[in-house]
């Protein structure tokens, strides 16, 4: 479903991503962990088509984008949009449209981008809002919701576009501890339903319970990959061990 091949991104002298390659087969949940600044979020933005990269390629379904310095050259605007439509994105800071209600946030893109009628879009919105247990708050504005509620609406908004996979960029990092559980619950439910997911997170419990595979990023490079069991019990890499020791002792 998702495939990365030799993704390379530099910013001046600094290497942000160093020849990263992996695949996420359909229906799998892959969790990306690693110290802050290791390039996790940059990787996700490249895959989601929101940030350019220099070399390598990202493929989602049949849609491919190449690095801007690769022989194939940067993707066209149309290809980028095609890619973005296939990959839903959920952001650390939710990024709900502040001037729209919950319902308007969810029906906006289905109507404007997919061309659904208002009625079709509302029916779809009711389903996805129900799924994230936000059906009762459809008329509220984002500013009046808690972080956890906003993040669940953001998940619903991306699901309403019926993407082939969803990319989560530290979805619980900006939340109050008491609302983290609700959001993780929604994500686990999605995983059970067979959604293909790529999740950058610091929630090791989610990685343990829901992930099929875990990727460990360090300094822009993919240093280790394996089942959660293997990564958490017997990691190969010394730096993985050090990182896990730091986060698990908290």
């Amino acid at each position: 479903m998702i495939a990365c091949l030799g993704i390379e991104k530099r910013f001046g002298e600094k290497t942000i991503l160093n020849r990263i390659g992996f695949e996420v087969p359909r229906g799998e949940v892959v969790v990306v962990i690693g110290p802050s600044g290791s390039g996790k979020s940059s990787l996700l933005k490249c895959i989601g088509g929101l940030s350019p990269f220099d070399r390598g390629l990202v493929r989602i379904g049949e849609t491919k984008i190449h690095g801007s310095l690769s022989p194939e050259g940067p993707p066209s605007a149309a290809t980028l949009r095609e890619l973005r439509l296939k990959a839903g994105m959920v952001f650390q800071q939710f990024h709900l449209f502040a001037h729209m209600t919950v319902l308007q946030n969810v029906i906006e893109a289905p109507m404007q981008v997919l061309g659904l009628t208002r009625k079709q879009a509302k029916r779809r919105a009711e389903q996805v809002l129900m799924k994230v247990s936000m059906g009762g708050l459809a008329g509220r504005y984002p500013a009046s919701l808690s972080g956890g509620e906003q993040q669940r609406v953001a998940i619903a908004r991306s699901l309403a576009m019926q993407p082939q996979c969803v990319l989560f960029d530290e979805p619980t990092s900006a939340l109050d501890p008491e609302t983290v559980g609700d959001v993780l619950g929604v994500m686990k439910e999605l995983a059970r339903e067979g959604m293909t997911m790529l999740v950058v997170t610091h929630e090791m419990s989610f990685a343990r319970e829901a992930a099929d595979r875990v990727l460990v990023l360090d300094a822009g490079a993919l240093i280790e990959t394996g089942t959660p069991e293997k990564i958490f019990r017997a990691p190969d890499h010394e730096r993985t061990r050090a990182f896990l020791k730091r986060v698990l002792n908290h």
């Binding site: 990024h95 001037h99 893109a109 504005y141 908004r157």
Partner: protein
Amino acid sequence: MNVFHSIRRLCFRLAWAALLLYAGTPSPVSAAALVYGADAEGGAPYIFPDPQNPEHLIGFEVDLAEALAREMGRSARHAQTDWDSLIPSLVRGDFDIALNGIEWTEARERKVALSRPYYIYSQQLVVRAGDPSIQSFADVSGKRVATLKGTAANDLLDETPGAQPVLYEGQVEPYRDLALGRVDAVLLDTPIAAYYARSQPGLRYAGKPLAPGKYVIAIRKGDTALLAGINAAIASLLDSGELHRIYARWGLWNEAQRGLENPAQAPAVSEKSAESLWFFLPLLARGAWVTLVLSLIAMSLAITLGLVLALMRRLGGPLLRPLAVGIIEFIRGTPLLLQLYIIYYGLPGIGIRLDAFTAAVLGLGINYAAYETEIYRASIDAVPHGQTDAALSLGMTPWLLYRRILIPQAVRTALPPMTNDFIALLKDSSLVSIITIVELTKSYNMLAVSSMRFLELGLLTAALYLLMSFPLSLLSSRLERRLAPS
């Protein structure tokens, strides 16, 4: 024919322009009426609003214009134009003749056709009654001498060694400043001195009139039939004694006018008006209406055009983007006054003849569009970047992103500075009087100068401006609250 009519005509044109943004109305010159351009602002005793009845213009030149028209079997109609702009306005075809104390000069003779003289004027030096240091024009060396910009008196002072000319736009202010001690003397045409200074207690004539010259009527070159008609009419008025009667009525007849008769008594026209202030309100309100309509249309244009420029700058390709930047920098870097002059007087040179109202709307609208663009840009930048990421990840095109996500959120940030700009535009609209539009400030000027009630009328005018701008501030804060996410 009078201010009322010209404002009515203007309002009618306003309606046209408002409905159609109609460009290039036909010239107001009609075959039936003899349209004469003259500046009624501070124009006594030539042409000015009657202090007893400010809707009517009076003056010896109003009488002359009507007498001339009668001789020619036509009616006379006044077209308000700044004195400075009379000749260019005549040339561009705003009226048939320019009749407003235009002195015969060689330079003018080169530009337009000039009639035979209808009045012989001289320069009269006026000083404070209590100042013995100036007894005649020979004493002006080292003195500050006030006069009107661009007149023969102006030229005379420039050629007089030691004199320090102080130039004014209106003929009332020099005498006021003389009485206030801001200048030492005033040198102006005899009709002006006769009207403003002869009867004013604190002032006196210093020496005899000097440097006589001729007032003539300006006509477009090539309009030979009209020139002949005007010349014949002047001759006929002179023969019948009608000219004498008109000048006598205004206290302007003197030996110099072919030495026919003795000057009549001092001018009977009083410059003080006993009318109630409310009497002026409808006239000012008409000016305010012009200001309001003009500002509303200009601001709508600025808002729309500003958005186009902002989107060109943001989404435009390698051609549109620098074009937008160039336009914005040009407009912001040059004065509005200059832009208005170029649009109104300059564009006819390349065949684009806009009527005054359209030119004013365009000038103000384009000028403010450049500023609105910058407000939009800053407001769009103020929307958190995450909104863009979210919209793009949902597959929105840049156009959708701007239309549905960024602009609606930017409006709230943009509203207070835009209200500010609109209020500023409301006030800047007074600049368009230079292209002959009689709006609120111009109305005030004309009324205040003729009635000499600068303070009361000024406060009344200020109240009218506030009446227009304050509701805008209220509306803006209400809109802001409504647009705020609850």
